[in-house]
């Protein structure tokens, strides 16, 4: 009996200890197999490959407010999304919450990737992947910052950039950090610095057009410098971009009778991004500005490939590089824009021959061989006018027009006044109007103390 009690006395605590230890291990099992704490390069690449969040949510309000299209009164009056309705008539305090939050979500994901990356010490064989991921994250963040700046911060003006309010530059993933608006100068310099770093990390070409490449970095840097009216750098980056392989799509090879003349990831596309959906821009509603439609000369393939005549006589857009009837517009980087950036920058630098050479190389792919003639002029201003005309005709519904308008408005000769007519009422947006800078959304201003844009 005594032995028995002794055995029990020894066994009991032992069993309890074993049991407790077992319990601890028992509780270490993962509840959901699909859930992971990001720690490997594979995890980070998967986070960046979340195409829905990273590539398909580019801000769109600028395009909605731009002058590529018009709505009939019936279509406008019955829009169910108030933001769309208000953006169309440039209501002064439209709250574009979705554009803001989807773009900053890209920033957040990129920041989580960058911070996790710091803790990963890659094997020698993995260094290229590590660099690619870091470059990609910097690129995504810069692209998002730039698109936010186009809507919510004033256009870059070297004279006032250091005092103009830019966007909050969130450079860490810490959600407890308070958002503070930087200056426009800081905004652009951060974007450019990140992209320059990215260009050294990224491979020249990548497997999927949803992933950033060095070519894409050059295309984006060219777009950014053009928007800053820094034509030397815009030209240099455009030149590098073309030299590194950006190629034009020959529209002569496309079928104008095909239901979908442009396919997603066509050879001209460098980096695929599409914009948030807008009811206004849906081909079922948005009618292309009739003057724009009529501006295409005979033999210009785009008048067939870009537009479709509706039964009511108006034209709608089908030149979407995201596939013609996709409800989300292509807002990424493509070679056509790079060619036009290069031609314009050279024309503005006075390099007429080079400008025309680029312009004609581009035009050749847009006109039928019979109707194509090379543009020739000796006047720099005429060359620039020709380039801008071509730019207007090519970059329709690409989320670029708003940026262009803000830039062109700075020069009296190219400034544009936009008008909208709804029944008897006319709405006007004069050049350089304060409403060219959209208001900081309510969802932000209601939670944090952040300066609003002047009205």
């Amino acid at each position: 009996m005594k032995y028995y009690k002794l055995i029990v006395a020894v066994c009991l605590p032992l069993t309890v200890m074993l049991l407790l230890n077992a319990c601890r291990k028992f509780l270490d099992a993962k509840p959901d197999k699909k859930m992971v704490i990001p720690a490997t390069l594979h995890d980070l690449q998967a986070m960046l490959d979340d195409v829905g969040a990273m590539n398909l949510s580019c801000p769109i309000a600028g395009e909605v407010a731009a002058d590529n299209y018009y709505l009939t009164y019936d279509a406008w009056a019955n829009l169910s999304v108030v933001t769309d309705k208000e953006n169309y008539v440039w209501a002064s305090d439209v709250s574009n919450d979705k554009d803001w939050s989807t773009a900053f979500k890209v920033v957040f994901k990129a920041n989580v990737v960058l911070e996790t990356l710091r803790d990963i010490d890659p094997d020698p064989g993995q260094i290229a992947v590590w660099k690619r991921i870091k470059g990609s994250a910097l690129f995504y963040r810069a692209f998002a910052f730039f698109m936010i700046a186009q809507e919510f911060a004033p256009a870059y003006d070297p004279a006032t950039a250091s005092t103009d309010a830019g966007i909050p530059l969130r450079l860490t993933a810490d959600i407890n950090e308070i958002s503070v608006r930087s200056s426009v100068e800081q905004t652009y310099s951060t974007i450019i610095k990140d992209l320059e770093t990215a260009s050294q990390l990224l491979p020249l070409q990548v497997e999927y057009k949803t992933r950033p490449s060095r070519v894409a970095t050059f295309a984006l840097l060219s777009r950014i410098h053009l928007s800053m009216s820094d034509y030397i750098k815009a030209a240099n980056y455009a030149d590098s971009c073309i030299g590194d392989g950006a190629q034009l799509l020959d529209y002569n090879r496309l079928s104008s009778t095909a239901a979908e003349p442009f396919v997603r990831f066509n050879p001209e596309v460098i980096f695929h991004v599409s914009a948030n959906y807008s009811y206004c821009l849906d081909p079922a509603r948005g009618n292309i500005d009739s003057i724009l439609v009529q501006s295409y000369a005979a033999g210009d393939l785009r008048s067939q490939l870009f537009f479709r005549k509706n039964p009511n006589g108006a034209s709608s857009f089908r030149g979407n590089y995201n596939g013609s009837s996709s409800s989300q517009l292509f807002a990424g980087l493509a070679a056509d824009e790079v060619y036009l950036n290069l031609a314009e920058s050279r024309a503005r630098q006075g390099n007429i021959t080079a400008a025309l050479q680029t312009l004609n190389a581009f035009r050749q792919k847009r006109y039928t061989p019979e109707s194509f003639f090379p543009v020739s002029t000796t006047s720099a201003s005429e060359a620039l006018a020709k380039v801008l005309e071509e730019r207007r005709k090519q970059l329709v519904f690409r989320a670029i027009r708003w940026t262009d308008l803000r830039r062109l408005n700075k020069t009296p000769g190219t400034a544009i006044t936009i008008k909208r007519r709804l029944n008897d009422q006319t709405y006007i947006l004069p050049p350089n109007d304060l409403r060219y800078v959209l208001q900081i959304p309510n969802s932000v201003t209601s939670l944090i103390d952040i300066p609003k844009n002047p009205r």
Binding site: D74, A173, S446
Partner: protein, 1075 residues
């Protein structure tokens, strides 16, 4: 016999060895000659009575019976034994009697009065007599449960317990003592026998249930720790008893239910709807859709006629005639005629139970068949159960339970609410026709306009029309569920006071879904057409092969639960009693599921085709751009693990004072948290004072009076906790454009999050009047739920739109009263039971305030400090102006700036009306019996709450075809504003104006009501004497349910609970026989 004993002995040794690993102690087998050994049992049933007091009249010795009813007491010559037990008439056994009956002394106690047997409540860890419980328990016994036929166990608790059934949404919610959380799980924990139930409650046959115990306060429920904040429902299934003769019970019933009243939906009439369409057509509202050759959105038949007239295809008179014919039609007549039938359900069950001295058993089988009101929908269920206990030795008792349930549900008729026209329309126009005069199915507009589907594909594609009636016939959708449960238990008495218990439960629930859209169905035809291309040669290229589409899914839940528990039960020095238990519980629940699709499936040949899931394929006429072929393929694997340590003790002094305490710690395998943060400790304490046991108590009219007070904490687990960033992988096939896996961020790091907990103070009083004229209990409680997780919006610049934070405190209080009365107790018996509950709460702290006050309006939880969780707020209503425009209130004056009212109203501009859930609710259940007849009824009441009734929304009427009969009451001419609150129709519609009206105080109504829920007429035959027929009892009953709403606080005849889908009346007939 000897052999059997040897076998028992060796088994016993084996088991002892196993037990030795974790328990200590020795069986005491001593028997002394100067001791009397005896048993106390219930008279008649011979059920051993545990805890009965045995003492001498003169001598000071006192003892209590053990679980098997046994007692040992020193022999005293010439003294008589006094044996007492709560709820039983005490027995006095004289010395002579003792001597004559020894050594087989069995003392039988008779229950004080039938129906007053000792109430034993079960917590899932222990059973204890209610007289010794400090906590607030509520027990619903089998008699009460079986008043109502029906296969769903939980609905039997409506009107028989203090649970509030919140039926405002399709999925009813059960609330025990109100809400103790904002956004976390709100449902009470379900425990079947000993373990939380993981499967579907549908698998439990109510005929197998012995009782349901509701654990309401901290002391009762805290043994369930972190899962108990919403209360616990302990379901105890029926079992046999030792020494019980074989008993067989068979029951059958049939229920017939009317077709529902579809005209309660307050839809716009066909005439009004057509008037609106004609007006909108003139305004040009449809121009955009008519000229839309991208998506070809659906247009109603009236618009198509008007367009034909406009295009000159038909003449004006022809158009008028065609429209006039539609005006006469109401689709609800068609729905009623073609989609509904009289529902019939049947229930059959049989069980047998019995027991010998060392064994008891229970077997049951049940079959349920239900034909729903919706044609071609129904379900069948088979349940088989066995429950056996075996007492191998005096110390060791083994228990084995097995359950098998199989159910099959067919869901082929979506019903009118789910018939969707697609293309952004929510419901069909009121003049839709399902069939022609001969009953032949007619097509309805779906997804695309008729003018397109009439000719699409020029005969080369499949028919693109949608015939809802034909679809009901073609559908083949079913769900099957198989549930297996194995229960093993062993209980070993180490000493008479100390016992050890091991329990294990294995549960598996395998579910399967089968949805076959054969080639004739619209679903298949539409997808096939959509992915078809007509080549120049006229050949059709199919992206999706012709034939059927099969979606098959499987889910598999397995759970293992294990428990090791020590029980200690000791009486000493005549007045002290200690009951304690402590244990460890471990549990794993793993749910795996998958779903996959097969295209071109032929159920006869089992052939199928491969499709291209990878590429984006063009759609017909580019209707949807280029798309991937839909592929619902998915896999899931969730594994939850829990470890809990618990202890519970109650000390009783002299049957007068009971002190209880419990503690528990739960831990689970939460992800992204360190182990030491995975658990939460919780405790409770309680005191009970049996006043009527006091010497000074001498109120002859009050036979029992007890007071209880408890305090403690229960928790509510949350899986939102995470200290680290968690990402969730998505399959490559569901990524956009590229065939690569992707990951989304589930939760940003949130290291400071804690589990929610609720502290409850409960004060209760139990009483019984002499002669049982009135008995009952009253409980008052206050609850404080802290650390409640609120969803806090974050500055979207962070990249995270909202986040969970411990941000709220709710304080609740209430009263539960339960009264039973025997008003007349003669030949005619009149009895009544009343359940009355009051519950209210207030959010005393909430970290976040919405920026727009209007966000506080609307159903759902919109936490506002100082208000209840279910506050109803609305815009202040200032009537209609002279033009029929609604007027609101902004900045201290009347306003018609609806945009500003929506965005800039302050809280002070809103009206607070009251709560959406009833503060007062309960049931009243009278019953009259005479001879073999018993008639009983149940009345339910819910009072003191409010609801926002629905009305016309012009934006929705124009855009989505969702109308409301208030349209007919709208402002139409000056002066109408004096008699109506329904705004004038305007074009274009203003969503802000509609939104303001629909959320204004003009539509807030009192929601109180009293329902006559049911009526039950029973006839019982209990044959007496030796020449009894085959059966020992035969019971026939007639049961009517959903009889009437006898009081409504609102004057519109609206049902605030069910809205349009008021359950129709039903009648059941059933027989129950006991052999």
């Amino acid at each position: 016999m000897q052999e059997k004993r040897n076998l028992n002995l060796s088994l016993y040794r084996c088991i002892i060895l196993i037990f030795c690993i974790c328990i200590s102690g020795l069986p005491i087998a001593a028997q002394q000659a100067n001791l009397i050994k005896g048993y106390v049992m219930e008279a008649g049933t011979r059920k051993p009575l545990s805890g009965a007091t045995v003492r001498y009249k003169k001598d000071q010795q006192i003892t209590h019976t053990t679980a098997s009813g046994q007692f040992l007491i020193g022999r005293v010559i010439d003294d008589s034994l006094y044996v007492s037990f709560v709820g039983y008439t005490p027995a006095i056994i004289s010395g002579d009697e003792i001597a004559s009956k020894t050594p087989n002394l069995v003392i039988y106690l008779t229950p004080v009065q039938t129906g007053l047997q000792e109430v034993v409540v079960s917590t899932g860890y222990q059973s204890l007599p209610k007289e010794r419980a400090t906590g607030s328990f509520e027990k619903v016994d089998q008699t009460t449960l079986s008043r109502r036929p029906g296969k769903d166990l939980l609905s039997h608790l409506e009107g028989t317990s203090s649970i509030l059934f919140d039926k405002r949404n399709k999925d009813q919610q059960l609330l025990v003592r109100g809400r103790s959380t904002l956004f976390a799980n709100n449902a009470p924990l379900l425990v079947v026998d000993n373990f939380p139930f993981d499967g579907s409650i549908e698998q439990i046959n109510p005929n197998d249930v012995e009782s349901v115990t509701l654990l309401k306060d901290a002391a009762a429920a805290s043994i369930w720790g972190a899962q108990a904040a919403n209360g616990v429902l302990v379901i105890t299934t029926r079992k046999g008893r030792y020494n019980q003769p074989l008993k067989v019970e068979a029951a059958t019933n049939i229920t017939v239910m009317d077709k529902p009243d579809l005209f309660k939906d307050n839809a716009t009439s066909s005439g009004d709807f057509i008037d609106v369409e004609e007006k909108l057509f003139k305004e040009g509202f449809y121009n955009n859709d008519i000229s839309n050759t991208y998506n070809r959105p659906p247009l109603s038949p009236v618009v198509e006629i008007l367009q034909k007239e406009k295009a000159g295809l038909i003449g004006h008179e022809q158009a008028v005639d065609q429209i006039a014919a539609l005006r006469q039609h109401d689709v609800r007549d068609d729905y009623r005629k073609y989609l509904y039938r009289t529902a019939i359900s049947q229930q059959h069950s049989v069980n047998l139970s019995g027991g010998a001295p060392g064994i008891h058993y229970f077997f049951s089988a049940g079959y349920d068949d239900q034909q729903n009101s919706l044609v071609r929908n129904g379900s069948q269920r088979i349940t088989l159960r066995s429950e056996n206990s075996l007492r191998l030795t005096k110390q060791l008792e083994l228990q084995l339970g097995l359950l098998y349930a199989y159910s099959k549900t067919t869901n082929n008729n979506p019903g009118p609410d789910m018939l969707s026209p697609g293309g952004g329309k929510f419901r069909y126009y009121p003049y839709a026709m399902l069939a022609d005069h001969n009953g032949a199915p007619l097509p309805l507009v779906k997804d695309y306009r008729a003018a397109f589907t009439d000719t699409a594909g020029a005969g080369m594609l499949q028919d693109w029309k949608y015939y809802p009636l034909r679809e009901v016939g073609l559908a083949d959708n079913r769900t099957t569920m198989q549930n297996y449960r194995l229960n093993l238990g062993a209980r070993y008495s180490i000493t008479p006071a100390l016992s050890a218990e091991l329990r294990y439960q294995y549960e598996r629930q395998a579910g399967g879904t089968w949805n076959l859209y054969n080639g004739e169905t619209y679903y298949a035809r539409n997808l096939i057409n959509l992915y078809s291309q007509i080549a120049g040669s006229g050949q059709v290229l199919y992206g999706i092969p012709r034939g059927g589409i099969l979606d098959e899914g499987a889910s598999d839940l397995t759970s293992h639960s294990g428990r090791a528990q020590l029980n200690y039960n000791q009486h000493w020095k005549e007045r002290h009693q200690l009951a304690a238990l402590a244990g460890l519980e471990m549990k794993e629940v793993r749910t795996r599921n998958n779903i996959h699709r097969t295209y071109g499936y032929d159920p006869d040949l089992l052939t199928f085709s491969n499709v291209n899931y990878v590429d984006y394929l063009p759609t017909y006429l580019n209707l949807n751009g280029s798309q991937r072929i839909p592929d619902p393929l998915a896999f899931g694997d969730i594994q939850l693990r829990y470890v809990s340590y618990y202890a519970n003790a109650s000390y009783t002094f002299d049957n007068r004072y009971v002190l209880s305490a419990s503690a528990r710690k739960d831990a689970s395998n939460l992800f992204g948290v360190k182990t030491n943060q995975k658990g939460v400790p919780l405790w409770s304490a309680g005191l009970r004072w049996n006043i009527s046991q006091e010497k000074f108590f001498n109120l002859s009219w009050l036979s029992m009076l007890a007071a209880r007070i408890t305090y403690g904490y229960n928790g509510n687990t949350s899986n939102r906790l995470s200290a680290l960033t968690i990402i969730n992988y998505g399959a490559a096939g569901s990524n956009f454009y590229i065939n690569q896996p992707f990951a989304t961020i589930v939760t940003p790091p949130n290291p400071s999050l804690r589990w929610e907990k609720t502290g409850t103070l409960n004060i209760g009083l139990d009483f019984r009047l002499r002669g049982n004229a009135l008995s009952g209990s009253i409980d008052y409680y206050t609850k404080k739920s802290t650390d409640l997780i609120g969803i806090t919006p974050l500055d979207p610049t962070t990249g995270v739109v909202n986040m969970s934070k411990n941000s709220a405190i709710i304080q609740g209080r209430g009263i539960d009263i339960s009264l039973q009365s025997r008003i007349i107790d003669r030949k005619v018996k009149l009895e009544a039971a009343l359940l009355f509950s009051y519950n209210t709460n207030k959010i005393t702290r909430y970290l976040y305030k919405y920026t727009r006050a209007s966000s506080y309006i609307g159903s759902g939880i919109n936490p506002l400090e100082g208000r209840p969780t279910d506050a109803i707020l609305s815009y202040r209503w200032e009537g209609l102006d002279a033009n029929g425009n609604p007027q609101g209130w902004l900045n201290g004056s009347v306003s018609k700036d609806y945009y500003a009212i929506t965005n800039k109203s302050l809280l002070s501009d809103l009206v607070y009306s009251g709560r959406a859930l009833p503060p007062f609710y309960g049931a009243f259940r009278p019953s009259v019996s005479y001879s073999r007849w018993t008639l009983s009824a149940n009345f339910l009441f819910k009072l003191g709450h409010y609801f926002l009734r629905n009305s016309i929304n012009y934006s929705a009427l124009y855009q989505n075809w969702t109308g409301h009969s208030d349209f007919a009451l709208r402002w139409q001419q000056p002066g109408d504003e004096k008699t109506t609150n329904v705004p004038a129709m305007i074009y274009p519609a203003d969503p802000y104006r509609d939104g303001f009206y629909l959320q204004s105080s003009a539509l807030v109504e009192k929601a109180g009501m009293i329902r006559w829920k049911d009526l039950n007429l029973q006839y019982t035959i209990t044959p007496q004497g030796k020449h009894s027929p085959l059966f020992s009892q035969l019971l026939c009953y007639l049961y009517l349910e959903n009889i009437a709403t006898i009081y409504r606080a609102n004057k519109y005849g609206l049902d605030p609970e069910y809205g349009a889908s008021v359950p129709p009346r039903s009648i059941s007939f059933g027989i129950k026989a006991t052999f």
